[in-house]
């Protein structure tokens, strides 16, 4: 069986996605470690006299936020591996992901939607990078390579 040749653009894109994902995961884990406790409910901390200034049962909201973003961070990792292997589903879902990154980031950069956590520059940068990724995935020759690969697997 002749193995299809992976285009350089796809190789770069998948490496970027995997790297980006790993960075996000690393940051979130770091963030979680910096929290006063991994326990989302602080009551136990209070009972153990850790000195945290809380009254009664309280919730560590940052914990939930980090867990949510951590779970999203795994998506580019999976898609990057799928693109590396030239899977059709990885291309399709990557297009979805990149579109859903480009549009909100651009809208956030120009101030139409709120995004308090990120700067305008970061938003523009991520939006531009995603747009380039999108152009790669929508290039006719890339489409043909993915189709050929899918057909051969069938």
């Amino acid at each position: 069986m002749v193995k299809s040749k992976r285009p350089l653009a796809i190789t770069i894109l998948s490496i970027v996605m995997v790297t980006f994902s790993l960075v996000l995961i690393y940051l979130r884990i770091q963030n979680l470690r910096s929290l006063p406790s991994l326990n989302p409910f602080i009551e136990t901390i209070l009972n153990q006299n850790f000195g945290t200034p809380v009254e009664g049962i309280s919730v560590n909201v940052a914990f939930f936020s980090d867990i949510a973003i951590l779970s999203i961070s795994f998506i580019p990792l999976i898609l990057g591996v799928g693109l590396w292997k030239l899977y059709g589903w990885a291309r399709a879902i990557s297009i979805c992901l990149l579109i859903s990154v480009v549009i909100p980031r651009t809208l956030a950069a120009i101030g139409i939607i709120t995004d308090k956590g990120t700067t305008v520059g970061t938003n523009l940068l991520i939006s531009l990078a995603s747009a380039i990724g999108l152009l790669i995935l929508l290039h006719p020759q890339i489409i043909i390579i993915f189709r050929r690969n899918t057909a051969r697997k069938k």
């Binding site: 963030n31 910096s34 929290l35 409910f41 602080i42 945290t52 809380v54 009254e55 009664g56 049962i57 309280s58 919730v59 560590n60 909201v61 940052a62 939930f64 936020s65 980090d66 867990i67 949510a68 973003i69 779970s71 999203i72 589903w89 399709a92 879902i93 979805c96 992901l97 579109i99 859903s100 990154v101 549009i103 909100p104 980031r105 809208l107 956030a108 939607i113 709120t114 995004d115 308090k116 956590g117 990120t118 938003n123």
Partner: protein, 836 residues
């Protein structure tokens, strides 16, 4: 309309003493008096539902009542906005349902006038044909075979009158009616003839007093209706369980009564596919109107869907395959008789017999009047069960002996085997053959009580009758066969005649597929079933066997339609899942039929079946959209409940989703503006798809809700620590916005999928522009409504993360759905689950 009295009407009827004056009937003045006092037979057309029924069935449903109570309680508790938005669903259901059904009723009632029963009444000594609604009390009404008494009354004149009261009493034996006996509306004349006086009219009549009239005796559901009803029942059962759990959860979590009620409204709205029931009734009502344009009157609304399920079509030969305009081709004398003698016997028979069927009419036209002045002594009327009829005449000669002239089936009447063979030869050419035999020197006995065939008979001759195939019948049979419908001919004629005509019509007949009454009589149950399923032509069949054949076919799993026009078809009509009558057929056959072919032509059937198929597709597409939405919302509520987060959807948000993305498209599908892709199988293509699509959609909604809920909190400072009460409230509104928008997009993609459109195949978007434009318009309106009034809909505008989820999850979920559908996983799943 005034008509000449039939030749065998008043003057030929043997009147009881004193009855001569009575049969003059009412005078015009007496009729006018009765009309003025309202003593008229008020007719209620039962072909469609009454306005009262339409309102009742559209308003007072279990769903509307239970939902209405909750909405009323919500309004009382000050949640009038929620009550209003949820109420829109009910209101739109009721308005659309009632308007469409009333419009359909108007069209169908207009058409029903074409097939309304005409009655022959005698007024001023003249026979008049009047519509059913113009009969007045004390009118004299004539009865002949196939007639249904429109009112109850007393018999004044009986000429071997036999009534079938099986529709009223279940008694299948015909009831002889003598002078003074009562005839009831809902029964019908099976043989002989007579005159009766209208005693109980309108609502006083028997048929009006009991709910089970001949027309409404059958309330069967079509296979599709049964399946959808089962699904709805499962949903309602699940609702009861979910409602109980909701109550427990509310008590356990300390939810306020207002919230408990609000979320109960969401649960009920999600579990009961009320809009589905609406779109089905709209599709059926409009389908009935659509099919009626093809000169086909629908008398039972779900017959529209029933047509699509038909796999076996049984038909009578005469009147359906042929023109039913019999002409005598030739008369053949047998044994010692010559042509003139045979002619005289036939002429005597047809001039003395009380009522004429089509064969007797043909013979009367061919032969003319008799030469002798012999008087009728008695008569046994022709009936399909006996297969013969006779007239006993008194000779004016000195011996005053009696001669019985019998005309009927050659197989039963002819004594000489040579004559039998001769008759068979003609039958094989597709000619209807009647035998003429006589019996002399019989005693003067009352034959009406002893209707036996005389043992000594003399073969006199054969009458050859020819009937032509209808011009369109060959194309019709070919079209029906192409649709996978098997045609079977069940007739009272000789099997050879029927086989010849069936072959001419294009039905594939072999000797192995031909059966006679005597063949079937000799079979045990197993062989009978085999014959019923594999036979194509059944000859000399009596009505009871016809009924048994149909019942066997139905029991063996065939979906059977029966086309007929005669009184002998009525028992078979009762067994068939779809009864189709000809407009010119006997009144009783039209009364019990589900469908009437107004132009008496089978040619409209393939078109009507096609229209029925289109209606089924509309129903299936509506079911697909509603079930997917319902399953998606139900599972989302359940999944979010697992992680103990606040309720994921508000009643008013669900109303927007249901109304714009589900109700509007399904109504447009129901009225035929939107075309959907073909759906073949309810279980696999609708229920299976809805379960899978609903599950994947709910995962997208739940993920979106959870991630937006938790992710939104990341905007806060990392050190913020709050109380659980604040925590429950703070992320809910944004999460609900994300989850409802994911639901909107995902349902839109499902709708497009049903219209051949896939966002993953851009060509389809360009090809089917109308559903694309409609979907985009509905989505834009619903999104604008939600986002421009966030306070009203209790949502917070999504942030960047929210929008990322809104764009990413529904499209990815749709792609995964396609991926699973195309993979071998689903095909292997049933096998994997059933293996030990």
């Amino acid at each position: 309309m005034e008509s000449k009295l039939p030749h065998n009407s008043l003057q030929d009827l043997p009147l009881e003493s004193g009855a001569e004056n009575l049969v003059q009937g009412l005078t015009s003045r007496e009729v006018a008096e009765r009309v003025a006092t309202g003593d008229v037979n008020v007719v209620v057309f039962r072909s469609t539902r009454t306005y009262q029924e339409i309102f009742k069935e559209n308003i007072f449903t279990l769903f509307h009542i239970s939902f209405g109570i909750i909405l009323a309680m919500l309004a009382i508790l000050g949640q009038s906005t929620d009550a209003f938005f949820s109420g829109i669903t009910i209101l739109s259901n009721i308005v659309v349902g009632v308007v469409q059904e009333v419009k359909a009723k108007w069209s169908l009632d207009k058409l029903a006038l074409l097939s309304v029963q005409q009655v022959t009444v005698i007024r001023d000594g003249v026979a008049l044909i009047v519509p059913l609604g113009e009969v007045v009390r004390d009118d004299l009404i004539e009865l002949k075979p196939g007639d249904r008494p429109p009112v109850d009354g007393d018999v004044l004149v009986s000429n071997a009158l036999e009534m079938d009261e099986s529709l009223l009493t279940g008694e299948s034996e015909p009831m002889p009616k003598q002078v003074g006996d009562t005839v009831l509306s809902g029964s019908f004349c099976i043989a002989g003839g007579g005159i009766f006086r209208a005693v109980k009219i309108g609502n006083e009549s028997y048929a009006a007093q009991i709910s089970q009239t001949s027309r409404t005796y059958k309330r069967s559901l079509t296979p599709l209706q049964r399946k959808i009803n089962t699904v709805v029942e499962i949903f309602v059962f699940a609702l009861l369980v979910a409602g109980f759990l909701h109550l427990i959860a509310s008590l356990n979590s300390g939810r306020t009564p207002v919230d408990t009620l609000r979320y109960a409204a969401v649960i009920i709205n999600s579990f009961v596919p009320a809009g589905l029931v609406l779109s089905i009734s709209v599709a059926l009502a409009l389908g009935a109107v659509e099919i009626s344009k093809k000169k086909t009157l629908i008398q039972r609304i779900n017959a529209v869907d029933s047509m699509n399920s038909v796999r076996i079509l049984c038909t009578d030969k005469t009147g359906t395959l042929t023109r039913n305009q019999l002409l005598v081709q030739e008369i053949i004398p047998l044994e010692n008789y010559n042509s003139a003698q045979l002619q005289e016997l036939i002429a005597l028979y047809v001039s003395l017999v009380a009522t004429h069927n089509s064969s007797a009419n043909a013979m009367a036209m061919f032969i003319g009047f008799p030469k002798s002045s012999a008087r009728k002594h008695s008569e046994i009327p022709f009936s399909s069960a006996r297969k013969w009829g006779s007239v006993t005449v008194e000779d004016n000669g000195a011996d005053a002996s009696l001669q019985e002239i019998i005309i009927g089936s050659p197989e039963i009447l002819l004594a000489n085997p040579q004559s039998q063979l001769k008759a068979q030869e003609y039958a094989r050419q597709g000619i209807r053959v009647l035998a003429v035999v006589t019996s002399r020197g019989i005693e003067k006995i009352d034959q009406q009580t002893d209707q036996q065939l005389p043992s000594t008979r003399e073969d006199c001759g054969l009458v050859l009758l020819k009937d032509e195939l209808r011009s369109d019948v060959i194309d019709t049979i070919a079209a029906l066969t192409a649709k996978g419908i098997e045609i079977k001919v069940i007739s009272g004629d000789s099997v050879d005649t029927v086989a010849a005509i069936a072959s001419q019509a294009g039905i594939d007949v072999t000797p192995e597929t031909m059966f006679t009454q005597s063949d079937l009589d000799s079979f045990d149950q197993g062989k009978f079933s085999h014959a019923a399923m594999h036979g194509r032509v059944f000859g000399r069949i009596i009505p009871e066997t016809k009924r048994k054949l149909i019942r066997t076919m139905v029991k063996r799993g065939g979906y059977v339609a029966m086309v007929g026009d005669g009184v002998n078809d009525v028992p078979a009509f009762k067994e068939a899942q779809l009864a189709i009558a000809m407009n010119d057929g006997a009144q009783i056959s039209k009364d019990v039929a589900d469908i009437i072919l107004l132009d008496n032509s089978l040619a409209t059937l393939p078109q009507a079946f096609q229209a029925g198929d289109e209606i089924k597709q509309k129903i299936l597409a509506s079911a697909l959209l509603y079930l997917t939405k319902n399953i998606m919302v139900i599972l989302t509520i359940s999944f979010v409940g697992f992680v103990q987060l606040p309720f994921p959807i508000e009643p008013r948000q669900l109303t927007v989703l249901t109304f714009f993305i589900v109700s509007v498209p399904t109504i447009l599908i129901s009225i035929g503006i939107l075309k959907v892709k073909r759906i073949n199988n309810f279980l696999k293509d609708v229920l299976g798809y809805s379960l899978l699509a609903g599950l994947i959609g709910s995962l997208a909604m739940t993920l979106g809700y959870m991630l937006a809920y938790f992710g939104g909190l990341g905007l806060l400072n990392i050190d913020v620590i709050i109380t659980p009460e604040d925590f429950r409230e703070m992320g809910q509104e944004q999460a609900q916005a994300v989850s409802i928008l994911i639901g909107l997009i995902y349902t839109l993609l499902v709708f497009w999928d049903a219209c051949h459109i896939s966002v993953w195949r851009p060509k389809t978007i360009l090809k089917f522009t109308f559903p694309v434009q409609l979907g985009l318009a509905m989505f834009s309106i619903s999104t604008l409504v939600l986002l421009t009034m966030p306070k009203l809909f209790q949502i917070a505008l999504p942030d960047r993360l929210g929008w990322t989820l809104i764009l990413f999850l529904p499209f990815t979920a749709n792609y995964l759905l396609r991926l699973i559908q195309c993979s071998s996983f689903l095909r292997q799943l049933p096998r994997a689950l059933t293996q030990p």
